[in-house]
Symmetry: none
Subunit: 187 residues, 4 copies
DNA sequence: CATGAATGAGCATTCATTCAT
DNA sequence: TATGAATGAATGCTCATTCAT
């Protein structure tokens, strides 16, 4: 039931937004009553936090595997890090959109854990950049923190326009991003 | 008074978010009453739309000047297009954040004009990329529409972390972005 | 201007009802501003009272002429009394509807005069019935007060269905009413 | 609780009128909170519609029994049809007043069903008149639709002056009405 | 005469949350 | 586990009215 509620909530948060979605909406779509919701969640905030945590924790697990893979150089790691974001958008577009859009509606008491994991996700990214600079794979004249913000901004934002059922496959998207990131636009 | 209300609203939408900001909050901070608000705006939605329109129209005007400047090649134009976004974040960070975050709270009846102008803004960007490809300034093996989404995602997102009072100037940011966009990360 | 306001108000009260009609509606339709309204009327209540007074006073004047006409017997007077009501509905249907419908929205401070004139109107009617009974024109086994209520209920209510542009003329309506009132339905 | 709310609302709509009665008034008089009201009714409009429906449906049921009674001729039916209106005013005067006065406050989305039933009520009335004409009980030189409007106007309007605790019983009222309707005022 | 800005009290409605059963 | 009735605080919005100009 808890999963059912989360799944339905993601659907509704995606289509109507967090603040326009009522607990009533959620339970109506499942066919239960509000009491049931409050048996599984203490509050709407807790639900939103759980959705965020579940999403970011999944990403972190995938990240870890890549980062710890000794067979990959940093360019390859970077490729794979980008890949998991796009892949997640493809397979769980709704979750990805909720994750990216509704973060602001998480309030004080429920945001700490989420924020620290988002931060961790970003720093993992940056670590690969730093490592690549040290290894001579990447140029060393650009601040890695800003580069990380730049790449994440670019890639994450795909949730807003990328249509998995459209003409571009996830591979094509990732390849284009990597070309741009690694070699730039100049002819 | 209308301007005063808009200014105060932007402040509050930035700090508390659109849905958590009440009309009462807004007028209390100005020292007038709710009636006054509704004398100048028909609804909270209209206010949000006006904020969006005012922001995007300003950007469009700046874009036009750059695009029509015959003395600039496309690399230079691209540079300047990126610059106005960062510059706007620096001088009107609150507006920029509201513009980027609260778009989802604009509902059916008030979104049309805003959406078409946002689209126009993006297509102007793409036009420069296309032109640069045609002129041989940019490589021709990357889809310009996706490249545009990529660059805009990267640059726009700066609102979320760029602190104008911090150690990096807007020039430095833009230069870093342009290096990455034009030449890439590879050593 | 005062007349213009009253005329427009009657239109709006007729179509939207008193409580749903705002002062703004009224002045918008005339092309002036609210200040103008309050220059001519102290309040919405006063406006409503003036509309009522003007309507009932007009009826009372017509009544008087008939009642004082020494050439008419009481059947003829009754006929004419009914006639003026229908005639008023025909020529000033909107006023008649407002007069009959919105009386309840007249509050304490503005109702006295109106009520006493409505009462006078009814009692004038009853006087003719009484006189007719005394003169032997009408049967004497029916209470004249209730008969008056009955006739007035029947005739006044015409405002709700009588369409002056329809197939029945006012004469035909009045004749039918008088037949019913005087001779009844029995074959 | 729903019944309690309806009952209290009828009281208040009768004494203060629909538009002057607030939801707060209603719930205060019952000793619950506004939330409770909206648990049972979607809107003030829905409440008003339910009040109307409940009143008219009750009348329709009573009508049906009379109309289908094969032991009654049309004069007798007419008598009984008038009787139920007066009887309803006597036992449920408040409902009757609300029903007759506040119909105009029912708006578009909530009026359809009510209007069609009011119409049905009137047409049932007319059917008896028509039948009586065909059977030779009533004269055939008066339009039955107008006669119906006339009788209903006369009888319904009793809500505005008939005091059930006064000197006249409902039988006396109905008898007077029937005398007038059937035999007229002429001596 | 007329305007337009401002008021303030009020109102219907919403909705997350509680809790006895 | 789940329900359904009830809460209460909040919220966007309305509108008759005032008043300085």
């Amino acid at each position: 039931m808890k999963d059912k509620i989360m799944k339905e909530s993601i659907d509704l948060f995606d289509s109507k937004g967090f603040s326009k979605t009522t607990i009533q909406d959620i339970v109506d779509n499942i066919g239960v009553t509000k009491g049931t919701f409050y048996y599984y969640f203490e509050s709407k905030q807790e639900l939103l936090r759980d959705i965020h945590l579940s999403f970011i924790e999944n990403l972190l697990h995938q990240q870890e595997e890549i980062i710890n893979d000794k067979n990959l150089n940093n360019k390859e790691k970077l490729y794979k890090l980008v890949y998991i974001i796009i892949s997640e958008i493809k397979t769980s577009g709704k979750s990805a959109r909720v994750f990216n859009r509704e973060i602001r509606h998480l309030e004080k008491d429920h945001i700490d854990n989420v924020n620290s994991k988002r931060r961790e996700f970003r720093l993992n990214f940056q670590k690969v950049i730093d490592e690549g600079i040290r290894e001579g794979e990447f140029r060393n004249d650009l601040r890695s923190d800003i580069v990380t913000f730049a790449i994440l901004g670019m890639v994450n934002r795909s949730y807003s326009w990328y249509n998995p059922d459209g003409e571009m496959s996830e591979d094509e998207i990732v390849n284009l991003y990597m070309e741009l990131i690694l070699n730039g636009l100049t002819k």
